[in-house]
């Protein structure tokens, strides 16, 4: 197609790679102590690009900024307000917390970091270190990279360690199995309605400065050309402007504490201490077995963007179309909420049927067409686990004194925080009315706060072939938010712009 392919050397590698082989990682949240020292450090920081290398590099470094961080670096207010309003306002702005489910136990004032809009623990920068477990690993990398100017430049808010649990998340389930496939070469025609679920998502959903699923450009600061902005790329949709967002994206980070013991003890109790039944209930919560196998069976039709090898087919070549009554995978299961895997219309209508479907006529079943067009609500997950692993067998035993905290440093990338991450969190994960359900939120990650008129949100329902669903009541809250912030993950040219002394002058 018309668009030149993305220049990978300008994109931070995290957008393209999950760095599975770099099993060690640390996230350092910092505040700027001295803007000029911080800029000097950033100028020299060896931030990793998305270019493939042979052999692959053994370490990687990435940097992202909050809006407060850009301000602290000296970036002008006019430039900052060119970013999306969610990013400018931050994750904890007043009205956002209700939508994100950050109430009750998840309320920002309880967080360990980032909870207060102007607090001392609101990070300015997120510096991410990844390393293969040799040659000193991530510790050596940090020592090397921070250097002497670091102390002058930054104050550390939190140093978040991570744990390699071998592809398993703390509850014990295979993790990170399903990711959208970025259409790097913009080969898909997004103007045509999607009639079958596809895993290929427009480049502009994950990278600013390119066309999104609406064939439009997501908002980002477009600057007037000046000596300071010389290194920036032009905007595709406004060639006379410099595109500060291009090749960058937004990074959402949330520290999620997982109560692994509560999880396994609950499913065990709810299953009458029958370990196999407990496993089945846990799998119903998730929508997958612990090894990642989905509870609905794979389909024969290939799905664009999921890979063609045996494992990909087994793990991801499925939709929920063949399970309209939720008997195989409950409607409220975590993976069914996180990605309902549907197209723009229900049941691939053509001709007259499509016309009727467009007007919502001919709908039969109660749940038909309640959710559609997942392509507008995908995120790229890049999180890592923390805290020591715990098998289900260990988890059902009482906690020892000083049981360490474990959980997930949830990280996702998206170009439009409100339409992607926030929608997903609000309309699908936290919503007690998701897909015609009532009285339940996401069994794994949802809060259990009552809402007006709905005192109970702690149920979980398993639909059955016989009709009457099996209700599991009193599901505790297993996941608690401990911190979070919205960051901008700039392109390398935008990073050079932030790091240049000219940024202050141009502000």
């Amino acid at each position: 197609m018309r668009t030149a392919p993305v220049d990978y050397s300008d994109v931070q590698g995290l957008v393209r790679f999950g760095y599975r082989k770099m099993t060690q990682a640390a996230y350092v949240l910092v505040r700027v102590k001295s803007a000029s020292a911080a800029r000097a450090w950033l100028r020299n920081a060896p931030v990793t690009s998305a270019v493939t290398m042979t052999p692959p590099p053994p370490t990687a470094l990435h940097v992202a900024f909050t809006s407060a961080g850009l301000r602290a670096l000296g970036v002008g207010e006019k430039t900052i307000t060119g970013f999306s309003s969610e990013f400018v306002a931050g994750m904890t702005s007043d009205n956002r917390t209700r939508r994100l489910g950050d109430i009750g136990n998840n309320a920002p004032w309880r967080w360990e970091w980032g909870g207060a809009p102007n607090g001392d623990d609101l990070p300015h920068l997120l510096v991410m270190f990844f390393a293969e477990p040799h040659d000193g690993g991530v510790e050596a990398l940090m020592g090397r990279t921070m250097g002497s100017s670091w102390v002058e430049a930054f104050t550390i808010v939190r140093r978040l360690g991570t744990e390699n649990l071998d592809g398993v998340e703390p509850f014990g389930f295979a993790d990170g199995i399903s990711q959208p496939e970025i259409d790097w070469n913009e080969q898909r025609d997004v103007t045509a309605p999607v009639l079958d679920y596809s895993n290929v998502v427009a480049l502009g959903e994950f990278l600013l400065g390119y066309k999104n699923e609406y064939q439009k450009y997501t908002e980002r600061p477009l600057l007037d050309p000046s000596p300071a902005t010389e290194s920036l790329l032009p905007a595709q949709d406004a060639p006379q402007k410099k595109d500060l967002g291009r090749n960058g994206t937004y990074l959402v980070m949330r520290q999620l504490r997982q109560d692994v013991r509560a999880f396994w003890q609950f499913v065990m109790n709810a299953s009458g201490a029958d370990a196999a039944a407990a496993d089945r209930l846990a799998a119903a919560f998730v929508g997958r077995e612990r090894d990642g196998s989905p509870l609905v069976s794979a389909q024969s039709r290939t799905i664009p963007g999921i890979g063609t090898d045996g494992d990909s087919i087994r793990l991801n070549q499925f939709t929920f179309d063949g399970d309209p009554s939720g008997v195989a995978c409950p409607f409220g299961a975590h993976i069914r909420r996180a990605n309902p895997r549907n197209a723009d219309y229900l049941g691939h209508p053509t001709g007259l049927a499509k016309l009727l479907a467009a007007f919502g006529l001919g709908r039969a079943a109660f749940r038909d067409d309640l959710i559609s067009s997942v392509r507008f609500h995908r995120v790229l997950r890049r999180g890592r686990e923390y805290g020591p692993g715990l098998t289900p067998e260990q988890a059902v035993r009482p906690a020892p004194p000083n049981d360490p905290e474990r959980g997930l440093h949830f990280i996702c990338l998206n170009a439009n925080i409100s339409r992607q991450f926030e929608f997903l969190q609000n309309a699908w994960m936290a919503n007690s009315k998701f897909s015609g359900l009532t009285g339940e939120s996401d069994p794994l990650v949802g809060g259990r706060e009552a809402i007006p008129g709905c005192p109970v949100t702690s149920d979980f329902n398993l639909q059955t072939a016989g009709g009457v669903r099996r209700r599991v009541s009193g599901v505790p809250q297993f996941v608690t938010v401990r911190g979070g912030a919205y960051f901008f993950l700039p392109s390398l040219s935008a990073l050079r712009y932030f790091a240049s002394e000219a940024v202050v002058k141009s502000a």
Partner: protein, 422 residues
Amino acid sequence: MVLAPIVPQREAEFRLLLASMNGAPGRVDPNNVLFPFAQFDRIHVARFLIIDDKTTADVSAYNLPTPNYPLYLCFLGDIDGDADSFFDDIVKRAEKGLRTLFSCCEGFGTTTDLRRYVREHRVESAANYINWLGRTVSDVREEAALHDALESFVREARPSTARDLHRSARKFVRDETAAGRLTLTAEPSTPLGWKLRNTAHFVGVPIALIALSPALAVIGALGILQLRRLEKVDPELCDRCDAEHSDDLALIEDHDVTNQFTAMGSLKPGVLRLWTTMAAFFAIDYAARHVFNRGGLARVRTIHFARWVFLDNRKRAVFFSNYDGSLEAYMDDFINKVGFGLNIAFNGGIGYPRTRWLALDGCSDERKFKEYLRRHQVPTQVWYKAYPGLTAVDLERNRRIREGLETESLSEEQATQWAALL
């Protein structure tokens, strides 16, 4: 709907009065002294707000002077039964509070006849949408109670088949009803006059259109070509919405599973534009009345009630809605499912994202559309819903449960589907 201009000097006082009707911002006190909504069991949803359009200067895009509209007190509700008797009812039972509120309006004094004032200030809607025609507040409550009772019942029941369950549930409900613990009021037969009028409307409109079709075809074709010319040059006013305005609106959102929405703006000038908008509203009203009256406005199933109203000699229009979920999800639902309808309904507004042939493009520029809508949204100071916690989809499920229950005999497959609703 009642619309009365506010005396400019009384605006601040009026705002305080409205605030006093809430327990907290966005959370009405259903028994507040000024207007105790909860005491009127005919009200589904209702709101008091100030019609305060911050976008009146947009007409300057067409080189028109900015008109100086008054602020209006706006009261509207979606109710069971006819509006006349409802207004009589509230005038009688909430006279003191209503007098206090209307005392801030032009032409209202201590001796004013409230009933007459209200009647004189009534404004009819140009288009109206009702999620489920004929479902009353009492139906909603009875069916919700039925749902709750049956939900507990099926947990105790040990039926061998779904048909068995259906049979025993029917007996259970019969017993509960006899004991006075459940009520299921039979739907009153639709008045013959209403039925006749509705059928006449259903049939008459297409007949009239067919009869006029030669003329309409010519006017329509010319009109559409002219509109196509206009829409290519119409200005788009979709700048980023002011953060403070957006925060004020968000403060009163997401307190219930349902939200209110009020948006307004000036209409594009010219008689052709006006006719187009009137035709669009007429078509929406017709479709809502005769086609989309069972749980969905086309593919969108999250709206309880909505209406479009012309203001100020059809120079402006205002849109009211009551929808489930967050605003972002509501807008996405519309853009992705019925974007064409959205364009037809709203492209008469000044500054709407550029459309093509009225129905195409427009809101598919998602970001512009969302900024446009947010910018035109006005705060709904006081909003009441008679059944907090229940979404339109909940109401449909409860209705389906009742319909299944009231069916004497179901096949095993039907019974299974019915049981799955519980």
